[in-house]
Every structure is written in structure tokens, then in C-alpha cells.
Amino acid sequence: MLGGEVMTGSWYHIAKAEFYVMTSGFRKHRAIGTVLLYTLATVWASYLAPMIIVGILEIIMPMDVMRTLLMVMFPGLMRTVILFLWALLLLYPLSYSLQEIKIGQWEIYLSNDVKTKDILAGTFLGKMPLYGLIVILVAPVLISPFMAAFEVPLLGQMLVYASLAFMVISTLWLANFLTSIIQARLGDSSRGNDIAKALSFVIALVVIIPMYGLMFFMPQLSELLGMDAFLIMPFTWPADLVSWIAITFNGIGLTGGQIIGFASILKFDIIQSAILTVTFGFLWVPIAIAAADRIFTIGAGARTESVTTVGRDNIILRGIRRVAKGPFGALTIVSLKDFGRKAQNLSKIFYGVVLAIILPIIIRQMSIIEGEIFVVDEILPMISIMIGIVGVFPFAGTGFLESKDQLWIIRSAPKGASRFMRARLATGFLMAVPLSGAPTIAMIIMFALPPLLAAQIFISAYIVVCGAVMIAMGATAQNPDYEDTKSPAHQTVLMTSMLLTEFTLLGPLFLDLFLTLGLGIDVLAVIESVLHVDGLWFMITIVGPSTLLFVGLAMMTLGIRSLGKVEV
């Protein structure tokens, strides 16, 4: 800590600055906007959400049936719900903060003699309004079915939401503490920022996998989370506390036998769960405050001081140089080097490969859940539809241009934008090989695929990934975000690319539907009678990907034009 006059209440000013940054989108109406948002959220949480969710559930099945079902799955489901909230609160702020290292701001705080614990408290409180709002919106959706099923009265509901509020606050404190440690370790260097962004994507994967679990493995996961091993997980304690409050305050007259049944699953009673929840929550407060002086330090770490010297081109690059001579080959090699050396790009490719490997597992699981017999041959159309997303993700918005100044340099060369885009596209096509190869290899191992089918799956996946890459790069060129993954431009490019890819792949099916309903022409039947192949298979594996390639080419052409245009 620096000496001199100590400012009081610095945490408040830091929190206020964080809040101002967060609400800069509606800064002209900040006060009224915030009040309005929280009022609407409160109405949603206290009235609309329970009414809508319970209404929808009652349409699906009568409350009596649902109550019986919930009674059986209740503790496991509650743990799943709280795991989701906990992961969201712990990992989303971490992932979001890592996208922009803020060491420079620490330098300002410290040079103004702000106490480190004030920095910790200020940055934590600054996050509260946004994440508090998210929880107010999400929690009632997840909790109201249980409250309705157990007919928990107002007092019980208030205790449930108080427990949730405590879990939210303590988890956010922990997330803020962990974020600060990681930011301090990485430092405010080009490399630190790159690693931070890479981590932010890998962290997102940790959220994605439980979400896939929630979507596709609900029964197995609930059963799994009922296991004793989960009693040591911090999210289990608030979940069990909420479960016990609902059981204790139930309005449906649970019998002693039923309560003993719940107790045998939950293991810890309400007091033990409450003590563990509160202890874990408060444990991090003194730890974080004690560590604050060590975290918020400025200084060039090992990472910022290290210098990376590049070596000789590897065998792949030398091969490309031999095959593609001239400026195009040189640009492609430089483009590959630039893409491959950024940790955030590699983490996105890794992310894509993991998603691609998960795909066949999900497809098989879906077949099992729906009671169908799993037929390996039927996997091809499903892979075609789903792998488009894998192709879009690593190339939409990122791995393109670092700054507008780079764009000026590229544009200042004759036909510079066109040459640049063609080289980037070649990079994308090369990166599509592992993205398409990963699920193929996974399926060969899992289902012992015959070579011909494996080749078919690889080629089909490769074509779809290449089409998706062209769409993503074309969309990015039309609206570059200069590596700012928090920007609206990035979100727009990502969503546009995802939706365009999926709608293009499924477009021919919609067309067939409209033609059948409107004009009575069943295109699938026509295909079957003319080509003697399965109409649906042909549409999804041949027509969809072909259309995707055309749309991709169109997007690339528009992207090249947009990138090379003369500014007005």
C-alpha cells in the first residue's frame, strides 16, 4: 500500500464507476432506466413468472401428476437447478471479465491511494446490479415449479429467496476474487490479454457441458447428483437448504414417512445445510481481504517480460509454401501463423472440436431417450445440421483484424482486401479439417463405423464446416469488431452467422413443407421417385450443404466488397 492521506469510501466510487460503465448504453436515462428495469424484474419474479411457468406446466400435465413426479426427483432436481445458477454466477463474470483485462485501472486506483480491500469491495459491488438482475429474472423460472408443487406459503418462499440471495452474493464475491487473481497473474500485456480471452472461452465450456447435461441427460444427471459424493460440492448445500425449507413449510401435508424419505437422500439436515452454506459464503470474505494486498500489485511479471522468438517454418507451412507459390501462398502462411499463435483462436478451435465430439454422444442419447433404435446410418443428416455451428464459432467475429489501423494498412495495398480475405479463407478451410475430423474419429471409435460411412461423414461435415466458415468470415468482414468480443458487433456477427448457417441447412426442408402445403407438390417424394434415394437424407446431406456453399460464397463476395470499399 502507498502511504499518505487515506481516502474514505473509495469502494463506493469504484462501484459507481463500474455501474456507470455497465449502464453506459442508456446513460441519458440511467436513473429511470434502472428503476424501470428493477420494477419490471420484480413484477416478473413475484407475479408473472410463477403464473406463466405454473400455467405452462399445468397445460403439459396436471399439478397432481407433476407433484408426484417432483416428489420423486425433487432433491436431485433442486441440486441441478442450483448447480446451473452457481455455475452461471461463478463462471460467467469470470469469463466476461477475462475478455478485457483491467490492470490499467488498478494503476489509477493505487496511484490515488485507494486501499486494496476497497478495490475488491468496489469491483464486487459494481457487479451486483447486473448479476442481481439476471438472478431475479432466472431464479423464479427455476424455483416456482417447486414452490407451486409443495404449496409453499409466503414466509417459506421469502426464506427460499433469502437463501438464494445469500448464495448469489457469496458466489459473486468468490467470482470477483478469482477474477482478480487471474487478471493479476496474466498482467496487462498483449500475451496476457490473449491468454485471458482463451481462458474465457474454455471457462464457457465448463458451463456448456452441464447445460448439455441438463438438456439431454436429465434423468441420469438427477440420479447422479443424488449421490453422496455431491455432498462435498458447495452448490449442494444451498440447494439442500432450499429443499429443506420447501419441505418444512410445505402446504400439502407431507407425511412423516415422506420427510424421512427426503432426509435419507439429502443426508444433511436443514441446520447442517444452513451452517455449511453460510460458512462457505463467509469463508471467502476474510481470505479475499487478507489476500487483497498481494493481488492488486502492479509490476511486470514473467509473462510480460518474456520475448517469443519465432523459429523455422514447420513441415506443414513448408508444404504449403511449396504447393502455393507466390503472394497467395505467402499470405496464407502468414495468416495461419497469426491465427495459430493466438491462444484465444486455439481455445475456440478446441471448443469447436469438443462440441463436435459431443455431437454423436448427444445424437445417440436423443435416440435412446425417444425410445428409438439407434441406427448409425441415420447419423449423417444430424451431423450435417449440427456441425454448422462448430464451423461458425471459431471464425465469427474473431481471428480476423485486431484494429481499424490494420484495415487501413490492408486497404492501402492494391486489391489488398481481396488478397487478405482469400488468404483468411484458405486458413479457415485448413482449420476445418480438425473440426470435421474430430467427430468422425469419435464416431469411428464409438460406433465402429465402416470406412465408407466414415469417409461420407467426414466429407459431408467438411463441406458444411467450409460453408459455415465462409458465412462467418463474410459476416465478420461486413461488420468487423476488431477482436472486441464484448461489442454489439461481435454478438451480431455471431448470431447472424449461426442463424444463417442453420436456416440455410434446413431451408430446403422448409421449402418442401411450404410446397407440399401450398401447392400439393411433395419434393421429397419427387426426389425418391426420380433418384431412388431417401428424400429427407438427400435434402439434408446434399441440397442443404450445396445451398450453404452458395450462400457462403455470396457472403464472402459481399464481405470482400465491404472490406475493400472506400470509406465515405
Binding site: 500485456s189 498483449s190 500475451r191 490473449d194 518474456s306 520475448v307 517469443t308 522468438t309 519465432v310 523459429g311 507459390k325 507466390g326 503472394p327 497467395f328 501462398g329 505467402a330 499470405l331 502468414v334 501463423k337 497469426d338 499463435r341 493466438k342 485486431e402 484494429s403 481499424k404 489501423d405 490494420q406 484495415l407 487501413w408 494498412i409 490492408i410 486497404r411 492501402s412 495495398a413 492494391p414 486489391k415 489488398g416 488478397r419 487478405f420 488468404a423 472506400v566 470509406e567 465515405v568
Partner: protein, 258 residues
């Protein structure tokens, strides 16, 4: 290659550029002769960078006429780009490439990838004192070293006309001296024209043979450094600049905020 017409490299007539309500350039008339080292001086926001972007074919003017080496900037922008080099105001380098790789990238963008390019890269990096660090990633370079790499990238394809936007703003005195000498040698030996935007009056005085002072979108003074100093009745170019553009604040005003 298109050559300058009648020995004129740059000519503008009543050139205007407006960004919405902001008039960045106002009726700009300019003439820069071949082989000149033209210094474009002016305060922040005067329209220097906008002028350079229009002349290098990156930005469309609102009205008026401009030609570079005899080529209309509204018509054949690729031909202009082929014979000009641009050093942008802020460095737009690729952090994960080495200096050699970045220069290969710039060369390839300009359609070059042969041995001649590699020889030129080695020579330029040697001249600029980067030969020992040429294979290090640019993320580890200081801002001065990055600026040197950008200077090299601007000269790489041997342009006839070079636009330099604040070439020495991030350089230490010795590196500035190297760039200064490089400009003088290239101008004298190869008849290359330089159009240099700068705030540094000392640099402009040493390097430029003609200076134009831009203020609020229009040229308010033009001539050799000595002519400008004499016409303003000043002691040196900095004094002349301050008299023409304004900006001198008395000592009392400097402390008024306390």
C-alpha cells in the same frame, strides 16, 4: 508505372470533406512537386489525416478534385495504391507475427513474395537497427520499434510517393535521426516524394523543403520553412506555427485552475 504529370505529384482543387455536420477539409488547394518533402503541419483535428486518407485512395471526398501522380483519386484507386506508401497515424501491427513475417505479409499484399522482397526486408530492418530482433514477436516490441517496422512496411514496395502520418511521434531522438536521414537520402537519390504530417516543427524544419500549415480544414500558410518563419516575423518554425495557428497561453491562465 504512372509518373507524375508535369512534375506534380499531388494536386487538389477545392477539396472538401464533411463527416455529417463536421467539416474536416474546406476548399483545400494543394500542389506538391515531384521529389518534394512536403510537411503538412496543423493542430489535432485540423484535417491532416483525412487529407492523407483521401489522397491515398482510402476515403472518398465530399466534393472537389484530387490527383496523385496524375491519377484521379476518384477513379483508379488501385493504381494509386500501387505507387504510394502509407504510414498510418497509429500502428496496426499484428502482435503475433515477427517483424520479418509482418513485412512478408505487407509484401504479399502488394503482390511480392520473391527473393528480392526478402533481401529488401533484411536491408530495411538492418538500416532501422532491428536486425537483432527481427524474429521476435511484435507484441514484445516497444512503441518506437513498432514504428520502425511500420516505416519499413511503408517503403517496402519502393513507392514513388510516401505518405507519413506522424512518423516520429513515438521514436526516441536517435531513431528519429535515422528516419530523418532515410527520408533525405531517398528523396535525393531516388526522387521519391514525401508527404509528411507532423506536429514536430523541429523535425519539419530539418527534413521538409516545403511546408503547408493547415488550420480548420484549409491551408493558411505555404512555403519553405524559412519563408514561413520570415512571413510570420518569428524566430523559428515553432514560434511561427504558434503565431499562425494560435495556442500561446499566458502564465496566469496556466495557473487559473488551481
Amino acid at each position: 508505372m504512372t509518373l507524375a504529370r508535369n512534375g506534380v505529384s499531388i494536386r487538389t482543387e477545392r477539396l472538401n470533406k464533411a463527416f455529417g455536420p463536421v467539416q474536416a477539409i474546406r476548399n483545400l488547394d494543394l500542389e506538391v512537386l515531384s521529389g518534394n518533402r512536403f510537411g503538412f503541419l496543423g493542430p489535432n483535428g485540423a484535417g491532416k489525416t483525412t487529407t492523407v486518407r483521401i489522397l491515398s485512395g482510402l476515403l472518398r471526398q465530399t466534393s472537389g478534385y484530387a490527383e496523385v501522380c496524375g491519377i484521379d483519386v476518384s477513379r483508379d484507386r488501385d493504381s494509386i495504391k500501387a505507387i504510394t506508401g502509407l504510414l498510418p497515424e497509429t500502428p496496426g501491427l499484428y502482435s503475433k507475427l515477427s517483424a520479418v513475417e509482418f513485412l512478408e505479409f505487407i509484401g504479399a499484399l502488394n503482390g511480392q513474395s520473391d527473393e528480392k522482397l526478402h533481401r529488401r526486408i533484411d536491408s530495411l530492418l538492418g538500416v532501422l537497427g532491428l536486425e537483432g530482433r527481427q524474429d521476435d514477436l511484435l507484441e514484445s516490441y516497444s512503441s518506437g520499434m513498432k514504428q520502425k517496422v511500420l516505416v519499413a512496411s511503408t517503403l517496402l514496395h519502393n513507392p514513388k510517393l510516401v505518405f507519413l502520418d506522424e512518423p516520429t511521434s513515438r521514436l526516441d531522438p536517435s531513431a528519429s535521426a535515422v528516419v530523418k536521414d532515410l527520408i533525405l537520402v531517398l528523396s535525393e537519390e531516388t526522387d521519391t516524394t514525401f508527404f509528411i504530417c507532423t506536429h514536430m516543427t523541429g523535425f519539419a524544419e530539418d527534413v521538409c523543403d516545403v511546408i503547408g500549415i493547415l488550420n480548420q480544414g484549409g491551408v493558411v500558410a505555404r512555403g519553405s520553412p524559412q519563408e514561413i518563419v520570415d512571413s510570420a516575423g518569428a524566430g523559428d518554425l515553432e514560434d511561427a506555427y504558434l503565431r499562425i495557428v494560435g495556442g500561446k497561453v499566458d502564465r496566469e491562465a496556466l495557473l487559473a485552475w488551481r
